[in-house]
Symmetry: C2
Subunit: 465 residues, 2 copies
């Protein structure tokens, strides 16, 4: 009850009593627990919910939503709190449903290459569970996020260039609707033409249309061979052009990541590495031994044409793990460059033909700014991130980061790109939706109102009602 | 005006006048034109619209929909009329919008591997257009359907096992809404987390939520090497087990199609071929020379373990084209076995682990029936089709086909499969939606009512209002 948000209903004693009857001590109203659940990893203002419910089943979620719906109290789903646009902020108070204890892998159909998990299972937990099956789940947004949260935010990450995003890898969902009804969005068949694609509608809806409690996912066989490499380039343009040609050549690269000089300097320092400080690509290749060798040869030849001839290879699992850990720590490494700073992260995605231009213009913007920043990107998808290391006590830095962010988004939209490739909308990017979608935003609003007429599901996110 | 449908509004003179003013002689009310536009390639009862509008632009479609919306007159979109579940039947009369003259390829972004086409462009026309670019569009449902129609029905076909369906290959759509507004569902970025996935909502909505007028599609580089083969097996089980192992082994096979003995006999006769009359798999492999060779070796070894050791290879474009033409003619070949018969086609899709069992049980059903039938399948996806060759003048055969169809669908649903893998719902499979979706069908209905409150867009399809 410590948050400054307006519009909140006063906490409802009878609701809390009913919830406590349902959940016992799995309902918390402690200020610390509530504060922790109103905050994600972003710079956005946190907003604590009035209570947090630690649920154990879909039925409990349905009961909570029914109780809240009857009183028009907001309900916000919470996985691991690793979102980046204020997705979990309880802008109007209400009940946070923490799904982290719904963490059972329900079934693995190895022969069908699919699994059904409860929403609180994290991606690392799932891959640990799968270890002896020869299968894995590839989507890797960096954070060890919950699979329900990853579905809700349409997460992607480093592997998306080959394996797709959550959009392509969720087969079906169990969802609690705004009135407490429970639906299954699809069957386990690989494809279906039987009606509207509800699965894809809920994937990326950020808890605003329903609460995802179970997720059926595609799995993949662990590749026979995996090889990773790092290569510095004489310029950002040279690195980006290498990416573009690689994608256009149809090389089924599993990962192709760009880090700018600032980011390389940061990870060198943070992870005690000695990469040459230059714009750098990180690669990973999956396939048979022969196919991996063939992919690597093609990419080496493209890179050499662009001045990238210093490939460092990582073939053992340990070397690869160290290489990618450094990449995943990029955000923390950047922040460590400026002690006491907070990260303001943004991401956009453009058609790959515009990527070099988009990055070059963005870097020119940044060169004229006093705030330090670092750039990393899932460049095979045309997607890149910036993190500004801001001093949270200096309003002028926050304003400057906001101004730069607006310019980056406007540039991406002008290039027929999107304001967010993978971080999502939350409340941080809601103001860009009209520019991005035009009248299509009205269609989103119509759907939101139809499926959640009381506007209780994560209100104030994606679309304004 | 010759159709027996009930509930139809009387033709509206002022509407026809307004449409004629807009379209001139591109509006037709001729009985022959209307009859042709109320019919698809299925056994379902055709229902002619009251008028057919041959449109040239999104703006014309918007104007027509606005005029019809004001009068609550149904609007049915028409591409090539090759659907199979009565999708284009004007059950309540109204205006058919024929998009076949919107057939311009608007732009090809070769460097981004995408293209935007008007909805009436057919897949063969697009691939012809792309011929000199080194790119192609892989989705191939057999018929030379329009790309707007393929998007609207979530089409897939023989290549889906590798390239996905229209679900995975549509990047964005231009859609005319039920009130005549025009939206663009997405940008050209490869991925986005910016709000609800409207693209996937309209893909597969069969013209019931909006009318697709432009489609942005993913393209692929033409593989360096393509190789195809045919191999007979001692039993259906042996063939299906070969498929299952191939998929589970992660071989990125581009096509893997099953034809049963009846179907092989039919294509032998129809296409003057000499395939051994046995359950047979048709394969195609795409990739580099080395990769294609590697894939072929793996599959040959799996097949040999199941008694399939008589591979016939087609490597030249002509040989491959002849091979696949025979496969694509399967439907007509089956019908030719029983002169004067009509085809009653059905399709289901199940998790691949259940495919052998599903086909075996289905074949036992069929063995007890007097109606001849043939089975073909996109078995790599767990999807198969049956065509019953029925005498349309014998009601008992129609009833028997209906009974068999119900059993096949019930079996697929019991196996966590779907009532239709790719043919869609139309009005032919609408009665199965409740069993397949449960309360999720109510969500579909809620969305339909929200986006088309007057129920003018292809009424009587997918969900009953």
């Amino acid at each position: 009850m410590t948050t400054p948000a307006s519009h909140r209903a006063p906490p409802d004693r009878s609701l809390l009593d009913s919830l406590r009857q349902l959940l016992g001590d799995r309902l918390s109203t402690s200020a610390a627990v509530c504060a922790q659940h109103g905050r994600d990893e972003s710079y956005h203002q946190p907003h604590a919910p009035d209570a947090v419910a630690f649920v154990h089943s879909t039925e409990e979620v349905a009961a909570i939503v029914s109780l809240c719906a009857a009183r028009k109290v907001p309900v916000i789903a919470f996985g691991t709190g690793t979102s980046l646009e204020g997705h979990v902020a309880a802008l109007r108070g209400g009940v946070c449903i923490d799904l982290s204890q719904m963490n059972r892998v329900l079934v693995v159909h190895a022969e069908d290459l699919d699994t059904t998990v409860e929403a609180g299972v994290t991606r690392k937990q799932l891959n640990e569970y799968l270890r002896d099956t020869g299968l894995f789940f590839p989507i890797d947004p960096g954070a060890d996020a919950s699979l329900g949260g990853m579905a809700a935010t349409r997460a992607s990450g480093t592997n998306a260039v080959r394996y797709g995003t959550m959009r392509e890898n969720v087969l079906a969902l169990t969802v609690v609707l705004a009135d407490g009804r429970v639906i299954r969005t699809a069957r386990r068949a690989r494809k279906s033409a039987a009606g509207y694609d509800l699965t894809r509608l809920f994937v990326g809806s950020e808890g605003t249309l329903g609460i995802i409690t179970e997720v059926t996912l595609r799995l993949y066989g662990i590749p026979e061979a995996i090889s990773a490499a790092v290569c510095p380039f004489p310029s950002l343009e040279a690195a980006v052009d290498t990416v573009i040609l690689t994608i256009q050549s149809g090389v089924p690269v599993a990962r192709i990541e760009l880090l700018d000089e600032a980011q390389i300097a940061a990870i060198n320092k943070y992870s005690k590495l000695d990469h040459r400080v230059a714009p750098t690509l990180f690669f990973e290749f999956h396939g048979s031994e022969a196919s991996v060798a063939e992919q690597a040869e093609t990419v080496k030849s493209i890179a050499a044409d662009h001045g990238g001839d210093d490939f460092r290879w990582a073939t053992t699992a340990e070397e690869r793990s160290r290489l990618w850990q450094a990449r995943h720590d990029a955000y923390y490494a950047a922040l460590a460059l400026r002690p006491g700073s907070k990260g303001w992260a943004t991401d956009v995605c453009v058609p790959i033909s515009r990527l070099a231009e988009c990055i070059a213009e963005t870097k020119r913007d940044l060169a004229g700014s006093l705030i330090p920043s670092a750039l990393v990107g899932h460049v095979g998808d045309g997607n890149f991130h910036l993190v500004f290391m801001i001093d949270p006590n200096r309003p002028e830095e926050i304003a400057e980061a906001g101004r730069l962010n607006e310019r980056i988004v406007a540039r991406a939209l002008a290039m027929d790109g999107t304001s967010t490739g993978e971080h999502g909308v939350g409340y941080g990017k809601m103001d860009f939706m009209a520019a991005e979608h035009g009248d299509a935003l009205d269609v989103m609003r119509t759907i939101k109102i139809a499926l959640d007429p009381g506007n209780i599901l994560n209100p104030g996110k994606i679309v304004r009602i």
